[in-house]
Protein backbone atom coordinates (compact mmCIF):
# COMPACT_ATOMS: atom_id res chain seq x y z
CA UNK A 1 0.00 0.00 0.00
CA UNK A 2 1.37 3.37 -0.98
CA UNK A 3 1.59 5.75 1.92
CA UNK A 4 1.22 9.44 1.30
CA UNK A 5 4.25 11.46 2.32
CA UNK A 6 2.74 13.26 5.36
CA UNK A 7 1.46 9.96 6.75
CA UNK A 8 4.88 8.36 6.32
CA UNK A 9 6.60 11.28 8.03
CA UNK A 10 4.06 11.20 10.84
CA UNK A 11 4.57 7.47 11.35
CA UNK A 12 8.33 7.90 11.33
CA UNK A 13 8.11 10.59 13.98
CA UNK A 14 5.84 8.33 16.02
CA UNK A 15 8.27 5.42 15.72
CA UNK A 16 11.19 7.61 16.74
CA UNK A 17 9.25 8.99 19.71
CA UNK A 18 8.47 5.46 20.82
CA UNK A 19 12.12 4.53 20.41
CA UNK A 20 13.16 7.57 22.47
CA UNK A 21 10.69 6.61 25.19
CA UNK A 22 12.00 3.05 25.29
CA UNK A 23 15.67 4.07 25.27
CA UNK A 24 15.03 6.81 27.84
CA UNK A 25 15.86 4.47 30.74
CA UNK A 26 19.42 4.13 29.46
CA UNK A 27 19.82 7.89 29.13
CA UNK A 28 18.23 8.41 32.52
CA UNK A 29 20.68 6.05 34.23
CA UNK A 30 23.66 7.76 32.56
CA UNK A 31 22.30 11.20 33.50
CA UNK A 32 21.69 10.25 37.12
CA UNK A 33 25.07 8.59 37.59
CA UNK A 34 27.06 11.52 36.16
CA UNK A 35 25.16 14.25 38.00
CA UNK A 36 24.88 12.44 41.36
CA UNK A 37 21.50 14.06 41.57
CA UNK A 38 17.96 13.07 40.76
CA UNK A 39 16.73 16.50 39.65
CA UNK A 40 15.88 17.08 36.00
CA UNK A 41 17.14 19.12 34.14
CA UNK A 42 20.59 18.43 35.62
CA UNK A 43 22.15 21.32 37.51
CA UNK A 44 25.79 20.26 37.49
CA UNK A 45 27.99 17.34 36.54
CA UNK A 46 29.67 15.37 39.28
CA UNK A 47 31.27 12.02 39.87
CA UNK A 48 30.42 11.86 43.57
CA UNK A 49 28.13 8.92 43.11
CA UNK A 50 31.03 6.85 41.80
CA UNK A 51 32.93 7.36 45.06
CA UNK A 52 30.04 6.20 47.17
CA UNK A 53 29.54 2.81 45.57
CA UNK A 54 30.85 -0.08 47.64
CA UNK A 55 32.85 -1.55 44.78
CA UNK A 56 34.11 -4.81 46.34
CA UNK A 57 30.59 -6.03 47.12
CA UNK A 58 29.30 -5.00 43.71
CA UNK A 59 32.16 -6.70 41.88
CA UNK A 60 31.73 -9.86 43.88
CA UNK A 61 28.05 -9.93 42.95
CA UNK A 62 28.87 -9.10 39.33
CA UNK A 63 31.39 -11.92 39.08
CA UNK A 64 28.91 -14.32 40.63
CA UNK A 65 26.32 -13.21 38.07
CA UNK A 66 28.74 -13.65 35.19
CA UNK A 67 29.62 -17.12 36.46
CA UNK A 68 25.96 -17.99 36.64
CA UNK A 69 25.34 -16.54 33.19
CA UNK A 70 28.12 -18.65 31.70
CA UNK A 71 26.84 -21.82 33.34
CA UNK A 72 23.32 -21.09 32.11
CA UNK A 73 24.60 -20.41 28.59
CA UNK A 74 26.44 -23.73 28.43
CA UNK A 75 23.38 -25.56 29.76
CA UNK A 76 21.17 -23.76 27.24
CA UNK A 77 23.41 -24.76 24.34
CA UNK A 78 23.44 -28.39 25.50
CA UNK A 79 19.64 -28.37 25.63
CA UNK A 80 18.81 -26.20 22.64
CA UNK A 81 21.33 -27.10 19.96
CA UNK A 82 20.16 -30.73 19.54
CA UNK A 83 16.53 -29.63 19.87
CA UNK A 84 16.86 -26.97 17.18
CA UNK A 85 18.65 -29.46 14.92
CA UNK A 86 15.91 -32.05 15.36
CA UNK A 87 13.18 -29.46 14.78
CA UNK A 88 14.77 -28.18 11.61
CA UNK A 89 16.25 -31.30 10.00
CA UNK A 90 14.19 -34.26 11.19
CA UNK A 91 10.61 -35.33 10.65
CA UNK A 92 8.83 -36.82 13.61
CA UNK A 93 5.34 -37.18 14.97
CA UNK A 94 4.35 -34.28 17.20
CA UNK A 95 6.76 -31.80 15.67
CA UNK A 96 4.09 -29.13 15.27
CA UNK A 97 2.98 -29.70 18.85
CA UNK A 98 6.53 -29.44 20.14
CA UNK A 99 7.17 -26.21 18.24
CA UNK A 100 4.23 -24.70 20.12
CA UNK A 101 4.92 -26.33 23.48
CA UNK A 102 8.43 -24.96 23.43
CA UNK A 103 6.94 -21.54 24.19
CA UNK A 104 5.49 -22.76 27.48
CA UNK A 105 8.27 -21.26 29.66
CA UNK A 106 7.53 -17.80 28.26
CA UNK A 107 3.76 -18.08 28.34
CA UNK A 108 3.43 -19.35 31.91
CA UNK A 109 4.65 -16.69 34.33
CA UNK A 110 8.13 -17.20 35.75
CA UNK A 111 6.82 -16.49 39.24
CA UNK A 112 4.42 -19.42 39.22
CA UNK A 113 6.90 -22.05 38.23
CA UNK A 114 9.66 -20.58 40.34
CA UNK A 115 7.51 -20.64 43.44
CA UNK A 116 6.35 -24.15 42.51
CA UNK A 117 10.00 -25.19 42.26
CA UNK A 118 10.78 -23.48 45.55
CA UNK A 119 8.09 -25.40 47.39
CA UNK A 120 9.00 -28.63 45.58
CA UNK A 121 12.67 -28.28 46.51
CA UNK A 122 11.80 -27.35 50.07
CA UNK A 123 9.64 -30.43 50.45
CA UNK A 124 11.78 -33.04 48.72
CA UNK A 125 15.36 -31.76 48.42
CA UNK A 126 15.81 -29.33 51.33
CA UNK A 127 19.61 -29.56 51.08
CA UNK A 128 19.47 -27.97 47.62
CA UNK A 129 17.96 -24.69 48.82
CA UNK A 130 19.87 -21.71 47.44
CA UNK A 131 22.28 -24.02 45.62
CA UNK A 132 24.14 -22.49 42.68
CA UNK A 133 23.22 -25.30 40.30
CA UNK A 134 19.57 -25.19 41.23
CA UNK A 135 19.45 -21.48 40.39
CA UNK A 136 21.28 -22.21 37.12
CA UNK A 137 18.78 -24.94 36.19
CA UNK A 138 15.75 -22.77 36.83
CA UNK A 139 17.22 -19.65 35.22
CA UNK A 140 17.85 -21.62 32.03
CA UNK A 141 14.13 -22.23 31.62
CA UNK A 142 12.92 -18.84 30.41
CA UNK A 143 15.30 -18.30 27.44
CA UNK A 144 14.85 -21.81 25.98
CA UNK A 145 12.24 -20.82 23.35
CA UNK A 146 14.23 -17.78 22.22
CA UNK A 147 17.47 -19.73 21.96
CA UNK A 148 15.87 -22.66 20.12
CA UNK A 149 14.14 -20.31 17.67
CA UNK A 150 17.28 -18.37 16.95
CA UNK A 151 19.42 -21.49 16.33
CA UNK A 152 16.60 -22.93 14.24
CA UNK A 153 16.48 -19.75 12.20
CA UNK A 154 20.17 -19.91 11.36
CA UNK A 155 19.94 -23.64 10.60
CA UNK A 156 17.15 -22.91 8.14
CA UNK A 157 19.44 -20.53 6.28
CA UNK A 158 22.14 -23.17 5.82
CA UNK A 159 21.70 -25.50 2.86
CA UNK A 160 21.44 -29.21 3.76
CA UNK A 161 23.60 -29.99 0.72
CA UNK A 162 26.87 -29.42 2.59
CA UNK A 163 25.94 -31.83 5.34
CA UNK A 164 24.79 -34.43 2.81
CA UNK A 165 28.02 -34.07 0.85
CA UNK A 166 30.07 -34.69 3.97
CA UNK A 167 27.96 -37.72 4.85
CA UNK A 168 28.30 -39.18 1.35
CA UNK A 169 32.05 -38.74 1.52
CA UNK A 170 32.05 -40.94 4.57
CA UNK A 171 32.08 -38.59 7.54
CA UNK A 172 30.21 -39.81 10.59
CA UNK A 173 27.06 -37.87 11.52
CA UNK A 174 28.73 -36.48 14.65
CA UNK A 175 31.81 -35.44 12.70
CA UNK A 176 29.62 -33.78 10.07
CA UNK A 177 27.69 -31.93 12.72
CA UNK A 178 30.72 -30.47 14.43
CA UNK A 179 32.87 -29.88 11.35
CA UNK A 180 30.24 -28.67 8.88
CA UNK A 181 27.02 -27.60 10.59
CA UNK A 182 28.37 -25.86 13.67
CA UNK A 183 30.86 -23.62 11.79
CA UNK A 184 28.13 -22.69 9.29
CA UNK A 185 25.68 -21.62 11.98
CA UNK A 186 28.33 -20.06 14.23
CA UNK A 187 26.99 -16.46 14.04
CA UNK A 188 23.50 -17.62 14.93
CA UNK A 189 24.91 -19.75 17.70
CA UNK A 190 26.77 -16.78 19.17
CA UNK A 191 23.63 -14.66 19.02
CA UNK A 192 21.66 -17.39 20.75
CA UNK A 193 24.31 -17.72 23.41
CA UNK A 194 24.26 -13.96 23.98
CA UNK A 195 20.49 -13.99 24.41
CA UNK A 196 20.81 -16.71 27.02
CA UNK A 197 23.73 -14.98 28.67
CA UNK A 198 22.09 -11.57 29.07
CA UNK A 199 18.81 -12.86 30.35
CA UNK A 200 20.66 -15.13 32.79
CA UNK A 201 23.08 -12.53 34.15
CA UNK A 202 20.41 -9.92 34.72
CA UNK A 203 17.72 -12.27 35.98
CA UNK A 204 16.04 -11.16 39.15
CA UNK A 205 12.92 -13.21 39.71
CA UNK A 206 14.44 -16.69 39.84
CA UNK A 207 17.28 -16.03 42.33
CA UNK A 208 14.99 -13.79 44.37
CA UNK A 209 12.24 -16.36 44.72
CA UNK A 210 14.48 -19.38 45.14
CA UNK A 211 16.71 -17.46 47.53
CA UNK A 212 20.23 -17.68 46.16
CA UNK A 213 22.94 -18.29 48.78
CA UNK A 214 25.15 -15.63 47.25
CA UNK A 215 23.60 -12.47 45.79
CA UNK A 216 23.52 -12.02 42.03
CA UNK A 217 24.12 -8.47 40.87
CA UNK A 218 20.40 -7.74 40.51
CA UNK A 219 19.75 -9.04 44.02
CA UNK A 220 22.62 -6.96 45.35
CA UNK A 221 21.21 -3.79 43.84
CA UNK A 222 17.72 -4.66 45.05
CA UNK A 223 19.13 -5.09 48.55
CA UNK A 224 20.73 -1.64 48.36
CA UNK A 225 17.45 -0.10 47.21
CA UNK A 226 15.69 -1.78 50.12
CA UNK A 227 18.17 -0.31 52.59
CA UNK A 228 18.65 3.16 51.15
CA UNK A 229 15.93 3.92 48.62
CA UNK A 230 16.69 5.35 45.20
CA UNK A 231 19.91 7.22 45.96
CA UNK A 232 21.98 8.33 42.95
CA UNK A 233 24.68 5.74 43.37
CA UNK A 234 22.19 2.94 42.79
CA UNK A 235 22.17 4.35 39.26
CA UNK A 236 25.94 3.93 39.10
CA UNK A 237 25.62 0.29 40.12
CA UNK A 238 22.94 -0.24 37.50
CA UNK A 239 25.11 1.52 34.92
CA UNK A 240 28.09 -0.71 35.65
CA UNK A 241 25.90 -3.79 35.35
CA UNK A 242 24.45 -2.44 32.12
CA UNK A 243 27.86 -1.69 30.65
CA UNK A 244 29.19 -5.11 31.45
CA UNK A 245 26.19 -7.12 30.29
CA UNK A 246 24.23 -5.15 27.74
CA UNK A 247 27.29 -3.52 26.22
CA UNK A 248 28.53 -6.81 24.89
CA UNK A 249 25.12 -7.66 23.51
CA UNK A 250 24.58 -4.33 21.83
CA UNK A 251 27.89 -4.65 20.02
CA UNK A 252 27.00 -8.17 18.95
CA UNK A 253 23.58 -7.00 17.85
CA UNK A 254 25.11 -4.57 15.42
CA UNK A 255 27.58 -7.18 14.18
CA UNK A 256 25.02 -9.95 13.71
CA UNK A 257 21.95 -7.86 12.96
CA UNK A 258 20.70 -10.27 10.30
CA UNK A 259 20.56 -13.19 12.72
CA UNK A 260 18.60 -11.16 15.24
CA UNK A 261 15.85 -10.66 12.70
CA UNK A 262 15.19 -14.38 12.52
CA UNK A 263 14.32 -14.89 16.18
CA UNK A 264 10.66 -14.00 16.12
CA UNK A 265 9.55 -15.48 12.83
Amino acid sequence: MKMSRPVAVLLNVYALLLALLLTWPVLQIILTSFTSDIVFPPQHWSLNAFHEVLWPGLFKALIFSLKMGSAVTILLLIICLPTAYAMERRRFAGKALLSVLIFVPIIFPVVTYSSAIRVYVFMFFPWLRGNFWLIVLVTAMWPIPLVVRSIQGSLANVDVVYEEAALIMGASPLHTFFKITVPLIAPGLITAAMIGFTSATTTFVVPYILGSNQPTVSLYIFGDVGRLGFVPWIAVEVLVMELVVLGAVQILYFVFRKQFRGIFV
Binding site: M3, Y14, L18, Y120, F122, F230, V265
Partner: protein, 293 residues
Protein backbone atom coordinates in the same frame (compact mmCIF):
# COMPACT_ATOMS: atom_id res chain seq x y z
CA UNK B 1 15.98 -65.60 -1.64
CA UNK B 2 13.67 -63.42 0.34
CA UNK B 3 11.28 -61.63 -1.97
CA UNK B 4 8.76 -60.45 0.56
CA UNK B 5 8.20 -56.75 1.07
CA UNK B 6 10.79 -55.56 3.59
CA UNK B 7 9.35 -54.78 6.96
CA UNK B 8 9.40 -51.16 7.92
CA UNK B 9 12.12 -50.68 10.48
CA UNK B 10 10.87 -50.72 14.04
CA UNK B 11 9.79 -47.42 15.55
CA UNK B 12 12.80 -47.11 17.82
CA UNK B 13 15.30 -47.66 15.00
CA UNK B 14 13.61 -44.99 12.88
CA UNK B 15 13.14 -42.42 15.61
CA UNK B 16 15.91 -43.34 18.00
CA UNK B 17 18.34 -40.67 16.88
CA UNK B 18 15.65 -37.96 16.88
CA UNK B 19 14.63 -39.02 20.35
CA UNK B 20 18.26 -38.81 21.42
CA UNK B 21 18.45 -35.27 20.03
CA UNK B 22 15.33 -34.25 21.90
CA UNK B 23 16.31 -36.07 25.10
CA UNK B 24 18.05 -33.13 26.86
CA UNK B 25 15.04 -30.87 26.35
CA UNK B 26 12.53 -33.51 27.37
CA UNK B 27 14.45 -34.53 30.49
CA UNK B 28 14.92 -30.90 31.47
CA UNK B 29 11.30 -29.95 30.93
CA UNK B 30 10.00 -33.00 32.77
CA UNK B 31 12.35 -32.65 35.71
CA UNK B 32 12.47 -28.91 36.19
CA UNK B 33 9.11 -27.77 34.81
CA UNK B 34 6.55 -30.58 34.79
CA UNK B 35 7.31 -32.23 38.15
CA UNK B 36 7.13 -29.04 40.25
CA UNK B 37 3.99 -27.97 38.40
CA UNK B 38 2.32 -31.33 39.08
CA UNK B 39 3.24 -31.06 42.74
CA UNK B 40 2.02 -27.49 42.81
CA UNK B 41 -1.32 -28.76 41.59
CA UNK B 42 -1.31 -31.41 44.34
CA UNK B 43 -0.26 -28.96 47.06
CA UNK B 44 -3.10 -26.66 46.08
CA UNK B 45 -5.48 -29.17 47.70
CA UNK B 46 -3.56 -29.39 50.99
CA UNK B 47 -5.18 -28.32 54.22
CA UNK B 48 -3.51 -26.57 57.14
CA UNK B 49 -3.65 -27.46 60.83
CA UNK B 50 -2.80 -25.31 63.81
CA UNK B 51 0.11 -27.25 65.27
CA UNK B 52 0.31 -27.15 69.09
CA UNK B 53 -1.40 -23.76 69.06
CA UNK B 54 1.84 -22.25 67.79
CA UNK B 55 2.18 -22.54 64.06
CA UNK B 56 0.09 -23.40 61.04
CA UNK B 57 1.52 -26.38 59.21
CA UNK B 58 0.35 -27.80 55.87
CA UNK B 59 -1.37 -31.17 56.03
CA UNK B 60 -1.92 -33.53 53.07
CA UNK B 61 -5.61 -33.69 52.27
CA UNK B 62 -8.08 -33.26 49.46
CA UNK B 63 -9.40 -29.89 50.47
CA UNK B 64 -11.01 -27.35 48.17
CA UNK B 65 -10.88 -24.56 50.74
CA UNK B 66 -7.89 -22.84 49.15
CA UNK B 67 -9.72 -22.34 45.88
CA UNK B 68 -12.92 -21.41 47.70
CA UNK B 69 -10.95 -18.82 49.66
CA UNK B 70 -9.30 -17.46 46.52
CA UNK B 71 -12.71 -16.82 44.96
CA UNK B 72 -14.58 -15.59 48.05
CA UNK B 73 -12.04 -13.69 50.14
CA UNK B 74 -12.25 -10.10 48.84
CA UNK B 75 -8.47 -9.62 48.99
CA UNK B 76 -7.69 -12.53 46.72
CA UNK B 77 -10.68 -11.97 44.47
CA UNK B 78 -9.72 -8.33 44.05
CA UNK B 79 -6.15 -9.34 43.34
CA UNK B 80 -7.20 -11.80 40.61
CA UNK B 81 -9.57 -9.27 39.04
CA UNK B 82 -6.94 -6.53 39.26
CA UNK B 83 -4.22 -8.63 37.64
CA UNK B 84 -6.37 -9.85 34.77
CA UNK B 85 -8.05 -6.46 34.29
CA UNK B 86 -4.79 -4.52 34.17
CA UNK B 87 -3.25 -7.11 31.88
CA UNK B 88 -6.17 -6.85 29.43
CA UNK B 89 -6.12 -3.06 29.41
CA UNK B 90 -2.36 -2.78 28.99
CA UNK B 91 -2.24 -5.53 26.37
CA UNK B 92 -4.94 -3.86 24.29
CA UNK B 93 -3.17 -0.50 24.52
CA UNK B 94 0.08 -2.23 23.70
CA UNK B 95 -1.25 -3.86 20.52
CA UNK B 96 -3.01 -0.69 19.35
CA UNK B 97 0.17 1.32 19.80
CA UNK B 98 2.22 -1.39 18.10
CA UNK B 99 0.09 -1.74 14.93
CA UNK B 100 1.06 1.49 13.13
CA UNK B 101 4.76 1.31 13.91
CA UNK B 102 4.93 -2.39 13.04
CA UNK B 103 3.22 -1.74 9.72
CA UNK B 104 5.53 1.14 9.04
CA UNK B 105 8.63 -0.93 9.79
CA UNK B 106 7.36 -3.76 7.60
CA UNK B 107 6.49 -1.71 4.52
CA UNK B 108 8.55 1.40 4.02
CA UNK B 109 11.96 2.92 4.27
CA UNK B 110 12.43 4.09 7.83
CA UNK B 111 14.72 6.82 9.01
CA UNK B 112 16.69 5.47 11.99
CA UNK B 113 15.66 1.84 11.61
CA UNK B 114 18.45 0.31 13.72
CA UNK B 115 17.74 2.64 16.62
CA UNK B 116 14.04 1.89 16.48
CA UNK B 117 14.55 -1.86 16.27
CA UNK B 118 17.07 -2.05 19.08
CA UNK B 119 14.88 0.10 21.30
CA UNK B 120 12.19 -2.57 21.14
CA UNK B 121 14.64 -5.25 22.22
CA UNK B 122 16.17 -3.22 25.06
CA UNK B 123 13.41 -3.53 27.66
CA UNK B 124 13.26 -7.29 27.17
CA UNK B 125 16.93 -8.02 27.71
CA UNK B 126 17.45 -5.26 30.23
CA UNK B 127 14.24 -5.46 32.21
CA UNK B 128 15.93 -4.82 35.53
CA UNK B 129 17.80 -1.69 34.31
CA UNK B 130 14.65 -0.33 32.80
CA UNK B 131 12.80 -0.65 36.05
CA UNK B 132 15.44 1.17 38.09
CA UNK B 133 15.72 3.87 35.46
CA UNK B 134 11.94 4.32 35.58
CA UNK B 135 12.12 4.84 39.30
CA UNK B 136 14.42 7.82 38.66
CA UNK B 137 12.47 9.10 35.68
CA UNK B 138 9.16 9.17 37.54
CA UNK B 139 10.20 10.99 40.72
CA UNK B 140 8.56 14.37 41.42
CA UNK B 141 11.86 16.05 40.40
CA UNK B 142 12.30 13.79 37.39
CA UNK B 143 12.01 14.41 33.66
CA UNK B 144 8.39 13.31 33.26
CA UNK B 145 7.11 15.75 35.86
CA UNK B 146 9.40 18.42 34.44
CA UNK B 147 7.91 17.89 30.99
CA UNK B 148 4.34 17.94 32.27
CA UNK B 149 5.00 21.10 34.28
CA UNK B 150 6.60 22.82 31.30
CA UNK B 151 3.62 21.92 29.13
CA UNK B 152 1.35 23.32 31.86
CA UNK B 153 -0.61 20.10 32.02
CA UNK B 154 -0.16 19.89 35.78
CA UNK B 155 0.62 22.47 38.46
CA UNK B 156 2.12 20.31 41.16
CA UNK B 157 4.39 17.34 40.48
CA UNK B 158 2.62 14.00 40.65
CA UNK B 159 4.00 11.17 42.73
CA UNK B 160 4.15 8.25 40.32
CA UNK B 161 6.59 5.96 42.10
CA UNK B 162 4.57 3.94 44.55
CA UNK B 163 1.34 4.19 42.57
CA UNK B 164 0.12 1.60 40.11
CA UNK B 165 0.02 4.15 37.29
CA UNK B 166 3.74 3.84 36.69
CA UNK B 167 3.37 0.11 36.08
CA UNK B 168 0.25 0.49 33.95
CA UNK B 169 1.82 3.15 31.72
CA UNK B 170 5.05 1.25 31.22
CA UNK B 171 3.30 -2.05 30.49
CA UNK B 172 1.19 -0.32 27.82
CA UNK B 173 4.23 0.56 25.76
CA UNK B 174 4.80 -1.94 22.96
CA UNK B 175 8.13 -3.77 22.88
CA UNK B 176 8.28 -7.34 21.68
CA UNK B 177 4.82 -7.09 20.15
CA UNK B 178 6.10 -4.63 17.55
CA UNK B 179 8.66 -7.13 16.30
CA UNK B 180 6.15 -9.99 16.24
CA UNK B 181 3.50 -7.96 14.41
CA UNK B 182 6.14 -6.55 12.06
CA UNK B 183 7.09 -10.02 10.89
CA UNK B 184 3.40 -10.91 10.54
CA UNK B 185 2.87 -7.85 8.32
CA UNK B 186 5.95 -8.72 6.27
CA UNK B 187 4.28 -12.03 5.48
CA UNK B 188 1.24 -10.32 3.96
CA UNK B 189 1.65 -9.83 0.23
CA UNK B 190 1.38 -6.21 -0.91
CA UNK B 191 -0.71 -7.44 -3.87
CA UNK B 192 -3.80 -7.91 -1.68
CA UNK B 193 -3.54 -4.35 -0.40
CA UNK B 194 -3.05 -2.97 -3.88
CA UNK B 195 -6.03 -4.96 -5.13
CA UNK B 196 -8.19 -3.53 -2.35
CA UNK B 197 -7.01 -0.03 -3.13
CA UNK B 198 -7.61 -0.26 -6.86
CA UNK B 199 -11.11 -1.41 -6.05
CA UNK B 200 -11.63 1.85 -4.22
CA UNK B 201 -10.94 1.10 -0.57
CA UNK B 202 -9.40 3.88 1.49
CA UNK B 203 -6.05 3.42 3.21
CA UNK B 204 -7.61 2.84 6.62
CA UNK B 205 -10.20 0.47 5.20
CA UNK B 206 -7.48 -1.52 3.47
CA UNK B 207 -5.47 -1.70 6.66
CA UNK B 208 -8.30 -2.91 8.90
CA UNK B 209 -10.21 -5.04 6.37
CA UNK B 210 -7.32 -6.64 4.48
CA UNK B 211 -3.96 -6.36 6.20
CA UNK B 212 -4.95 -6.94 9.81
CA UNK B 213 -7.11 -10.02 9.12
CA UNK B 214 -4.33 -11.54 7.01
CA UNK B 215 -1.78 -10.95 9.76
CA UNK B 216 -4.20 -12.26 12.38
CA UNK B 217 -2.00 -15.16 13.50
CA UNK B 218 0.98 -13.00 14.28
CA UNK B 219 -1.14 -10.42 16.07
CA UNK B 220 -2.73 -13.17 18.17
CA UNK B 221 0.77 -14.34 19.09
CA UNK B 222 1.79 -10.84 20.11
CA UNK B 223 -1.40 -10.52 22.15
CA UNK B 224 -0.72 -13.82 23.91
CA UNK B 225 2.87 -12.96 24.76
CA UNK B 226 2.12 -9.50 26.04
CA UNK B 227 -0.92 -10.69 28.00
CA UNK B 228 1.03 -13.44 29.71
CA UNK B 229 3.77 -10.90 30.37
CA UNK B 230 1.19 -8.59 31.91
CA UNK B 231 -0.36 -11.30 34.07
CA UNK B 232 3.07 -12.50 35.11
CA UNK B 233 4.52 -9.05 35.82
CA UNK B 234 6.41 -9.33 39.06
CA UNK B 235 9.55 -7.20 39.26
CA UNK B 236 7.94 -4.06 37.87
CA UNK B 237 5.21 -3.80 40.55
CA UNK B 238 7.60 -5.05 43.23
CA UNK B 239 10.12 -2.27 42.68
CA UNK B 240 7.92 0.57 41.46
CA UNK B 241 4.89 0.03 43.69
CA UNK B 242 6.43 -1.78 46.63
CA UNK B 243 6.11 -5.29 48.03
CA UNK B 244 2.51 -4.84 49.23
CA UNK B 245 0.83 -4.39 45.87
CA UNK B 246 -2.23 -6.06 44.40
CA UNK B 247 -0.61 -8.11 41.65
CA UNK B 248 -1.34 -11.82 41.96
CA UNK B 249 2.29 -12.81 41.36
CA UNK B 250 3.36 -10.76 44.37
CA UNK B 251 0.58 -12.31 46.44
CA UNK B 252 1.87 -15.76 45.53
CA UNK B 253 5.39 -14.87 46.55
CA UNK B 254 4.17 -13.30 49.81
CA UNK B 255 2.19 -16.41 50.68
CA UNK B 256 5.35 -18.45 50.23
CA UNK B 257 7.91 -16.16 51.77
CA UNK B 258 6.78 -14.67 55.04
CA UNK B 259 3.78 -16.90 55.72
CA UNK B 260 4.92 -20.24 54.29
CA UNK B 261 1.30 -20.93 53.45
CA UNK B 262 2.26 -22.94 50.42
CA UNK B 263 -1.14 -24.59 49.89
CA UNK B 264 -2.63 -21.13 49.32
CA UNK B 265 0.32 -20.05 47.18
CA UNK B 266 -0.05 -23.20 45.10
CA UNK B 267 -3.78 -22.59 44.66
CA UNK B 268 -3.12 -19.03 43.47
CA UNK B 269 -0.34 -20.33 41.22
CA UNK B 270 -2.70 -22.89 39.70
CA UNK B 271 -5.26 -20.14 39.07
CA UNK B 272 -2.65 -18.01 37.31
CA UNK B 273 -1.46 -20.99 35.28
CA UNK B 274 -5.05 -21.77 34.28
CA UNK B 275 -5.61 -18.16 33.17
CA UNK B 276 -2.54 -18.37 30.93
CA UNK B 277 -3.54 -21.86 29.80
CA UNK B 278 -6.99 -20.67 28.68
CA UNK B 279 -5.41 -17.87 26.71
CA UNK B 280 -2.89 -20.26 25.18
CA UNK B 281 -5.77 -22.52 24.14
CA UNK B 282 -7.58 -19.63 22.42
CA UNK B 283 -4.34 -18.70 20.72
CA UNK B 284 -3.96 -22.23 19.35
CA UNK B 285 -7.56 -22.10 18.13
CA UNK B 286 -6.80 -18.97 16.09
CA UNK B 287 -3.71 -20.62 14.60
CA UNK B 288 -5.49 -23.74 13.32
CA UNK B 289 -7.24 -22.52 10.15
CA UNK B 290 -4.06 -20.96 8.77
CA UNK B 291 -2.01 -24.09 9.18
CA UNK B 292 1.59 -23.06 8.62
CA UNK B 293 3.05 -20.00 10.23
Amino acid sequence: MDTSIPHPRPWLARNGSTLLLLAPLLIFMLGVFAMPMIFQFAFAFFDRVFYKNVIWIPKPAFYLGNFAKAFTDPTYLYSIAWTVGIASVTTSANILLALPVAYFLARTKVWGRSLIEISFLLPIFGEIFTIYALAYALTPQGPLNWLLLKLHLIHTPIELVGSSWAVIIWMSLPTLSVLLIRSAFSGVDVLYEEAAQTMGASALQTFFKVTVPLAKNGIAGAFLLSFSGGVGAYTLPLILVGPYNDWLTNKIQREVDPYFNFPMASALGVILTVICGILFYFYLRTQEPGGER
